[in-house]
């Protein structure tokens, strides 16, 4: 009666990984068929052959946990003995594989004391490859099968397997690298363990100094970052509230145009706003020159510094606050306001005593989002900061600058991470406990109350100029790419586009001669490849979180949403520290970029999935289960088709955010795998604004087209009564691109 489990499949995968596929990473990738059956070479031999032919005897014990479960094939696996055997083989295999990977690395022993004990080691090993990865996957799944056979989560193998896989991935690609930062900060420049250095680095006046208060030249970066984040959070929240009020509570004529603003942060490469500000207020910017001519003074570089960064950040992040506040303002039930008015309150009293208090948690949430975004922002401070340094840029310079001090970068990353995690935690607290859900499932008739007149005009006075300003900025970006040199020579030219995206007729057909083609195509395919696992892992996680009960679920949820709160610069530093040496040696490859994108954007997929699953009645799953479908069949036949819109949304948003990412990947790009954003940033730093602007415009247009196609596809989708509309990506915003 019980349907056969997939034990045979996992064992087969384990054996294939161990005896057929190269154990170590292949420099040319698996697509080059040179590795097939090439057991005589050290680099390409699979695990078993490595042990038998190449003296890596420590791999031999892995045979045992792969052999033992074979006795269970064709027998009952839900007995206690079978379950214990599977758990033992899976756990021992996993632990042994990881242990040997960390203990024996490319330069012999992984830890100095091992060499003292056992003497030097002649045979070394490289970073693990596909063979080792498959074997590891098999061990993890054997373990999961065993746990399920013991009766965990109602004995559901699919659920236990999924949880195990996601926990393993999150541990490997979020917790492990972040933990490596901590150990990195404890290491002195020569790599030795030195807690004293840690304290020294932590107390550095460049981080915590308060010199500026005493009239000195500057404060520590930590204070700079905090001040900026608070100012940005406050600015974006106020503007977001004003926009949300105008759109939802007034008869403002251009509401649709205002709403369109919410899409901007999704499609805007991270430093484009800064570029536009330079075009307006920079030394040769339009506004600067206008006033310089008028008053006969020199424009100067006043925009570079705190206020420039602040302006850029408020411009960049206001749409996010707007998106959050729309939800909050619409969430205030009209019938509550009507009740207030029938109780003789004036419109102003209604607003201040009912509506505003109900919005308070939303305001806090919007503020914290702005705060986190500002902390994590990298592009704007880098372009506009001048002498004003914040943590994210300091981290960058500590890694790539002349000082090259990974230990200091790690320390700064810890400070930044602590700040954002505290804000994230506070935000979760607010959301968890203080949410006044005023929208019930019941039909809620009634019209939203109009704003009191003075408030309405205040909101207009704030939003209209700001919207115009934003519109001007974006048109500058679009037009700026078509002039020779902004501010000096405004004659029309296509030169920048030709430089970037030129195609010439060569002797052997078309030549993609533009300098941007390489980074552009790399960006497109890496963004595309990473979108697929992002959506799948995200939705699977969402399904586990909403539909399954299991021990440690709260911790699981925290772990999967954590990468949302980790600034991109921190992830970037963590990845180069963690993945530069075996057992996982992937820096300089395309894989590290894909992994960075997948685990940075995973929360987006999770949120899209949670939003959609909330609309799908749980009894649909249960109906499928009681009609004899397995969990896997239920997911495949019922949930996947119904979640298509969410899947598309997750795909598109992770694709788009991968295209606009900068902070994490700037540490991870290599000559071979250069991305659009890093290329543009290099152009900006070289002073080549025209090309940077032209390239940015192309990116914006490409992303607009992608989103447009997506909206069109979703718009066609109708599922009738229980229609699962595409979830609005509410709160869609990671911590820094």
């Amino acid at each position: 009666m019980k349907k056969a489990g997939p034990l045979g499949l996992w064992l087969a995968i384990g054996w294939v990984g161990f005896v057929l596929i190269p154990w170590y990473a292949q420099s040319r990738g698996l697509l080059d068929p040179g590795w097939i059956l090439a057991w005589d070479r050290q680099s390409t031999a699979p695990g078993l052959q490595q042990a038998l032919l190449h003296g890596r005897l420590w791999l031999l014990p892995l045979v045992l946990p792969l052999l033992a479960p074979l006795v269970l094939l064709g027998r009952r696996q839900d007995t206690a003995a079978a379950a214990n055997l599977l758990i033992a083989c899976g756990a021992l295999g996993t632990l042994y594989l990881l242990a040997q990977g960390f203990l024996i690395i490319h330069r012999g022993w992984g830890f100095a004391f091992l060499a003292d004990w056992f003497g030097p080691l002649d045979v070394r090993q490289f970073g693990i490859g596909t063979g080792a990865a498959l074997t590891l996957l098999a061990f993890l799944m054997l373990f999961a099968q065993g746990i399920a056979a013991r009766g965990a989560v109602n004995g559901d193998r699919f659920v236990v397997g999924s949880i195990t896989l996601i926990v393993a991935l999150v541990a490997a690609f979020i917790f492990f690298p972040v933990a490596r930062i901590l150990t990195g900060a404890l290491q002195a420049a020569d790599g030795s363990f030195a807690p004293v250095v840690f304290v020294e680095r932590f107390l550095d006046t460049r981080i915590w100094g308060l010199g500026c208060l005493a009239g000195g030249p500057r404060c520590g970066v930590a204070w700079n970052t905090l001040t900026l984040a608070i100012a940005t959070g406050a600015g974006t929240t106020l503007l977001g509230l004003a926009f949300a009020l105008v759109v939802t509570r007034t008869a403002f004529p251009a509401k649709r145009a205002l709403r369109a603003l919410t899409i901007l942060p999704i499609i805007t490469p991270p430093f484009v706003v800064s570029l536009a500000i330079i075009l307006l207020f920079g030394r040769s910017g339009t506004v600067t020159q206008f006033f310089a001519d008028l008053l006969g003074i020199d424009g100067g570089r006043w925009i570079y510094g705190f206020w420039g960064v602040w302006l850029a950040q408020v411009l960049s992040f206001t749409p996010i606050a707007f998106l959050v506040m729309i939800g909050v303002v619409e969430g205030v039930s009209p019938s509550l306001e009507e009740a207030s008015q029938t109780l003789r309150a004036s419109r102003w009293q209604t607003f201040t005593t009912v509506s505003l208090p109900l919005m308070r948690p939303g305001l806090a949430n919007a503020f914290l989002l702005g705060f986190i975004e500002s902390m994590a922002d990298f592009g704007n401070p880098l372009v506009l900061g001048g002498n004003f340094q914040v943590l994210s840029t300091e981290i960058f310079f500590a890694i790539v600058g002349a000082q090259h001090d990974p230990g200091r970068a790690a320390m700064l990353a810890i400070v930044l991470l602590a700040f954002t995690l505290m804000a994230f935690w506070a935000q979760q607290q607010w959301l968890g406990k203080k949410q006044y859900t005023s929208v019930s499932g019941k039909g809620d008739a009634g019209m939203p109350t109009a704003l009191p007149t003075p408030l309405k005009w205040t909101a207009y006075a704030i939003t209209v100029p700001w919207a115009v300003f934003t519109a001007v900025m974006y048109s500058m970006i679009l037009f700026g790419g078509f002039v020779e040199i902004w501010g000096r020579d405004h004659s029309f030219t296509l030169r920048h586009y030709q430089d970037a995206f030129g195609v010439t007729q060569g002797a052997f057909g078309l030549v993609w001669s533009g300098t941007a083609w390489n980074s552009f195509t790399t960006t497109l395919w890496i963004a595309f490849i990473s979108a697929i696992p992002t959506a799948m892992i995200g939705l699977l996680t969402a399904w586990l979180l909403t539909r399954q009960q299991f021990g440690g679920k709260a911790a699981f949820e925290f772990g999967t949403m954590l990468s949302f709160a980790i600034p991109g610069t921190v992830i970037g530093v963590a990845y180069i520290i963690a993945f530069n040496v075996p057992p996982l040696e992937i820096t300089g490859t395309g894989i590290i970029l894909i992994l960075a994108f997948v685990f940075r954007n995973m929360p987006v997929g999770v949120r899209a999935g949670i939003a959609t699953l909330a609309q799908l009645d749980k009894s649909l799953d249960e109906a499928s289960l009681t009609h004899r479908a397995t969990t896997f069949q239920t997911v495949r036949l019922i949930l996947m088709p119904l979640m298509k819109p969410a899947m598309l949304a997750a795909l598109v948003y992770s694709f788009v955010s991968a295209m606009t990412a900068i902070s994490a990947v700037i540490f991870l790009v290599s000559a071979r795998y250069e991305l659009a954003t890093t290329y543009i940033l290099n152009r900006v730093e070289a002073g080549n604004f025209g090309l940077a602007i032209a390239y940015s415009s192309v990116l914006i247009v490409v992303m607009l087209i992608v989103i447009g196609i997506f909206q069109f596809l979703i718009g066609e989708r109708r599922l009738g009564r229980r229609g699962a509309a595409a979830p609005a990506p509410a709160g869609f915003a990671g911590a820094g691109r």
């Binding site: 019980k2 109906a623 499928s624 009681t626 479908a629 019922i638």
Partner: protein
Amino acid sequence: MSDITVRFDEVTKAFGETVAVKEVSFAIEKGHLVTLLGPSGCGKTTTLRMIAGLELPTSGRVHIGERDVTNLPATDRDVAMVFQSYALFPHMTVLENVGYGLRVSGRPKSEVKERAEQALTLVGLANLGARLPSELSGGQQQRVAVARAVVLEPEVLLFDEPLSNLDAKLRRRVREEIRELQQRLGLTAVYVTHDQEEALAISDQIVVMNNAVIAQVGQPRELYEAPADRFVADFIGDANVVEVTITAIDGELAEVIIGNARRRLPHRGLAPGPAHLAIRPEGIVLAADPAEAAIGGRIKRASYLGSHVEYDIETPLGELFVTDPDVNHIHVVGQDISLDLGTHGVTLVRD
């Protein structure tokens, strides 16, 4: 033993601190329709979901047929369930919905189609197989849900408040259809509802639950005429429960003092002393003449409902709820009246 289809032995289900079902035991005979009845939060739905395998018990054993299925998940149990929301898959046609269980069990396509069509014919929707669920009315969707469950020929068919989304008139008709189908196919069915009238109308056996435990198990008539305790008397048929005194026990009968009246009633295991008496609203006879009064009272509220009149009457025993089929003589509010106990619908109950 083989005539028992579902058996619960001391089954308990706890969700963290809250105990939803506490040490519940019962057995369901093959071919019977058994209703789990009780107020919301009494544990009836949890009990049903434990039969389905959607919840696994914290302790105790569950048997279906000869098998111990205590730790078997829903997929592997021989049950099928009709959900309150119907839970029709919105992306599949009606026919695909009905054939779903057969399809995932790996039946050949031709058989899936044939049997799904038969099941649709059974519920009278033979020509609607190509539609989407959203194109059907509520009553039709309900029948599709039934067909989808019946087609699997399960050992037990489960119904979770299947009629609560239908309007009153339709509810009556559909419940008769369900009962008729169940008897015709000889299916064993477990049916959850909070509507006592529905339960009385269709059940072979009713399990009344309250506060996570079983209050009483019995045939509909048994429950109505001999409620085990105050809760059952009140929940089924809105009985008035009044305090009385038993003065003596004489064989099967007890001497009972009700206010200033005396009656002899079956003692039902109660000893002399204070006791409770359940009086059905229709078990009280009203008379305008106060002279021969057993109990005096005054009309507090009167509602004319066409077929009968409902009264709230203030009496020395407390406020009593009375229904009177005599619609030609309506007593007005404030009028003094005398009440007498009829021969039916009066029974001593445990606390």
